[in-house]
Amino acid sequence: MKLLLIRNKKWIVLFLIPSVIGYVVFSLIPMISTVYLGFSSWDVISGKPEIVGMSNYLKIFSTKEFYQVLGNTLKYIIIYIPLMLLTSMLIASLFNTDVKAVSFFRVLLFIPVLTSWVAGAMIWRTVLSSQYGLVNNFLKLLGITGPGWLTDPKWAIVSIALVSVWKDIGFFSLIIFGGLRNINHSIIEASKVDGANRLNVFRYITFPMVTPTLFFVLVTAIINSFQLFPQVMVMTQGGPLGSTQVMVERIYTYGFKYYQMGYAAALALLLFIIIMVITLIQMKLQKKWVYYE
């Protein structure tokens, strides 16, 4: 490729250096320190971390809390992922139609994505208030008594998942929409000539051809789910009764509130390993359902 001639290489390297430095300083070095800190005990404000070997990890696995936290995250994923995939797929298909002003709706749906999580979470906290919030008052009109969305331990994580769907749907549906647009229309025309109805077109043509995009969406969404944080911090702070405590919230609390940075770092490394394992599993399963031309 002409672009990789020696004389261009200089400029390529020069432009890459700022990003690399940023990455090394703000990502790589902190990651390495986290691994180190995970094997130490450090209360942040006094001097040096002292190495304690595996004791942080042993402590983590021996507490009920760790498994409860994983359980909360799992509950979140089970609600968030299927719902988000289905609705994004649906909306992306709607975006793919030639209805007038569809781009207006694309923008509208993208606005939550652009909103800061803190602002969005604060508003939702009021909307979901069990006595005075919009949601329950609306349900009252229909004769339904809404639950304590954020105050009932059974419902809190569900509410957080639903609010997260609201926030992310604009983003993921846009990505899937991009995938849909890339489908060659002539194949669809040909199939219609052969007598395929709308459902068949979707099942045998559209869906398989959009699976690479769906795969990307699935992997990204699951990684993000494990990193759930701002919604929890603003709406429930891990409560009620620890039903919305998730890994990153615990890392923050142990590190900055309890001054146990070593323990927090161990949690962080564990989270990394968990996410990595799950992503690898997904990559392996790719072959079974993702269709590449």
């Binding site: 979901l128 208030s129 954020l150 509130k257």
Partner: protein, 434 residues
Amino acid sequence: MKKMKVVFVVLFAFMFILSSCAGETQMPADEDGQAEVDNTGTNEDAGGQDTQEMVEITFMNYSSSGANEEVLGEMVEAFEAENQNIKVDVRTYGFDDYFQQLATSIAGGTTPDVFELNIENFRAYANKSVIAKIEGVDTTNIHPTTLEAFAIDGVQYGLPTKFSNVVMIYNKDLFDQAGVDYPTNDWTWEEELEAAKKIRALGENYFGVYRPIQTWEFYKTVVQNGGSMMNPDQSEFTINSPENVEALEMMIDRINEYNVTPNADQMGGMGDWDLFKSGRLGMLVTGIWAFSDFTENADFAWDIVVEPGIKEKATHFFSDAIVVSESTEKKEAAIKFATFISGSAEAAAIRLEANWDLPVALTDEVTNAYLAITPPENKQAVIDSLDYLVMAPSLENFNAIADTLNDYLEQAVMGILTPQEALDQAQEEISGQY
């Protein structure tokens, strides 16, 4: 030309990245520009022509955040006027963020020269040799209890600047509406419950009394019933003593049995201050730092009284102090500043005028000036409450312990555990771990 442009863009990108990872780039919270904006923080010779060297010290605090940043600015101005060679760089954070920011600054080697601590967090910092001893300072004017709170084995590690406590604030209009006499200092929980029931009866959205059920409220309320969270020399926890269990039962009954206190659903995400300001709450047990907010925002008549007790009275006592970093090179200036904010008559006067908590330099003059500023009319209750004060347990792991206890208290409120079970389990877990 093209090459120059490219180099320029790359250099610009470099600068952008490097500037964002430098340590001291925070703007001082002081909006009127009186404090210096200094990006490197620790320059000794900032002034050129003076015969004395200019010293700049950084001061980190939380208590002025929100309503009182200007007041702190005034105090800093007064200090700088008296000490022409010292400049104070003020950084203010909200209470929720402050301790994380402080810990991060210390970890990053940029400990502020002077900073604020409260009683709950003081011991952790003192034990880790982060703060310096304060010696050679005249502390005769300072309220002895506050001094003790920040001393360890007789050595002073912090200079208290102010203290505050908790009183019962009540809505006079609601009391009039319900036809109930105003609370007096003689009230116990019994009289309070009677009044609360009558106010609750005014309507579905009206509530009689509010106390939060969490660790801070717990450790004080149990004392009202003759119990205590720890034993006298703080060597053991006594969380599940019978008096404590009884007190917790009484607190929970107000929510679940009498419903004169709203439960979480009825609160609906609203804060307790907001509930009071909306005119729907008869009595609120909260800190005196609410006075300025209620003065400005409550559109009904209100006043205060010493909190009712159960078997005896007990009230909260909170204090904030300024401490000096052990590692600072400007100890002299730092101590001067701490002394000024803590014990000087000027600082006390500024604080009084702004109704910003109580100065620790509690001379008769100051007390009288304090009482003169109303609302509330019955400011004397603040001073009277000092007779019954209970301090927070001074523990290194206070945050973690408070959270653990809160979990159990929550479960008791929700009815998942009985108060006895909740406190038993809390006692077991906390004694075992800490």
